[in-house]
Amino acid sequence: MQGMPKRFYAFFTLPTMVAFAIAFLIPFLLGIYLSFTEFTTVTDARWVGLSNYIRAFTDDRNFLNAAVFTVKFALVSVVLINGLAFALALLLTRKLRGTNLFRTVFFMPNLIGGIVLGYVWQLIINGVLINFGVDITFSASYGFWGLVVLMNWQMVGYMMVIYIAGLQAIPTELIEAAKIDGANPRQMLTWIKIPLVMPAFTICTFLTVSNSFKLFDQNLSLTGGAPARGSAMLALDIFSTFYGRTGYEGVGQAKAVVFFLFVALVVLLQLRYSRGREVEN
């Protein structure tokens, strides 16, 4: 197909690329430009240099607080989700009774949308907290742990199926050989299973890191950022800056650019780090 005539090339690529330009590329470039301007609609943009970026950090502490909250949240949930998911995957690859049923149940919450999940957990968490005379909006740390529980409930099953696939892909000869050499279950885990599921580990940390950083729907419905934006993550803070008060669109766009650079940096660093730990087999 190397010598494909131009009109065929256009036929195959144009529909996607035009939609991509409209939905992503032009808005993306326009977004970078607008972050250096003051605007309420796109057409009234006025160049203001770096002032939006400075204001994003200095007008109030919302953005910095959201950044700290997001990083803490990502660290805690990445560790918990991957730990639990891997433990469950080990249990579910031992040919126990009911394995399929358990897999079905643990995976299911992953399909439910973030908005719905947020309200489901709001009911549960408030139902517990009402016994202490408070609700989830009482303190930002309630919102934090509420989100951690919610994310675990949603993502553990997803990561678990990826780890299961990774564990099942380990060649049986390796397991047999290790057994013959007299490896006990603990040695089997540290020297065979963990090194060989590293590709799955790369994927799972990538997915949990990027999902945690970009989390929005669950944050919006569970606490809406309450109390006083104390539990707002970066995506929600940007949304509130944009649509919460007029005159702050430029600041919101600048925050969005910083957010993008931050996510890109984290994701690329994380990929490089965990790819380096994979073994060839």
């Binding site: 065929f8 690529t13 032009i26 993306f28 439910i112 949308g113």
Partner: protein, 278 residues
């Protein structure tokens, strides 16, 4: 099997069973609360309905009326089905073409698409909804274009990975038999892509069906999809109708569970395949 092993297995199964009950509990709690009167929910969500608190389907009736749920279901279904169909058709064409024709343009397209996956939606949400406005894409048909554009990154990436594994000889044979590239693609390549377009379809269905912010910003004021309808009930703080909320949560979850149980295997396999390639 030794006695010790049997004991350990038994304990593991018991632990898993306990965990499974905890996993299902939130959904069951929402379900039985949806049959309780609106003032009996927030204060005692763990209490089962009693003769006093049971209200039958009243919450469902008021919830459907308040949110326009039936229409929301229709919009969600329409948007999801046609966006996913468009994504499968167009991104598989693009992925095949830019994988087979190695050129500077092809690799530029590929890298633009792949890198777009990292970009958070907030980066483009404002400018994208303005674009949609100007181009009159702010309706359930126009939004399909946005989903195609925004979903192209992941889908082209997954398709390309698969296309690389198809031997070129099959396509060359078709060309020798007189097929032009369009015939080659639709008669020969597209059928081979079947396992992978199921993966792409599932990944995109899960995303689009549950997506909130994009439709909210682009069409939310005129057309509510299911997530928008649920969020709409939130209203002012304290004033919301918890009964209607519970009923809407149940109605939002039921289609997903039905979908899950009808095609559980392909969903889990699709998600794993998508993740491993992504």
């Amino acid at each position: 099997m030794t006695r010790q092993q049997r004991l350990r297995d038994g304990l593991s199964v018991a632990l898993l069973a306990l965990l499974a009950v905890l996993y299902l509990a939130p959904i069951l709690i929402v379900l039985f609360n949806s049959f309780k009167g609106r003032f009996f929910i927030s204060d005692a969500p763990f209490a089962l309905p009693t003769a006093q608190t049971f209200v039958g389907l009243q919450n469902y009736v008021s919830g459907i009326a308040k949110t326009g749920f039936l229409q929301a279901f229709g919009y969600s279904l329409f948007i999801t089905v046609f966006s996913v169909a468009a994504i499968i058709l167009f991104t598989s064409m693009t992925a095949w073409c830019i994988t087979r024709v190695t050129s500077r343009v092809s690799s530029m397209f590929y890298y633009l698409l792949v890198y777009s996956m990292i970009v958070p939606f907030q980066m483009v949400m404002f400018t994208m909804s303005k674009m949609a406005n100007v181009l009159h894409l702010d309706n359930p048909v126009g939004i399909i274009v946005l989903y195609l554009g925004f979903g192209a990154g992941l889908s082209v990436f997954v398709f390309s990975g698969f296309v690389k594994s198809i031997p070129r000889e099959i396509e060359e044979a078709a060309t020798i038999d007189g097929c032009n590239p369009i015939q080659t693609f639709f008669l020969v390549v597209f059928p081979i892509l079947k396992p992978i377009y199921i993966t792409v379809a599932i990944l995109n269905t899960m995303w689009i069906w549950n997506d909130y912010l994009l439709p909210y910003l682009v069409i939310g004021s005129n057309y509510r999809t299911i997530p928008i309808a649920v969020q709409y009930l939130q209203g002012g703080y304290g004033s919301r109708d918890m009964g209607a909320m519970m009923a809407m949560l149940v109605l939002a979850i039921v289609p997903i569970i039905v979908f899950y149980f009808t095609s559980q295997r392909s969903i889990i396999e699709g998600v794993v395949a998508g993740a491993v390639k992504g």
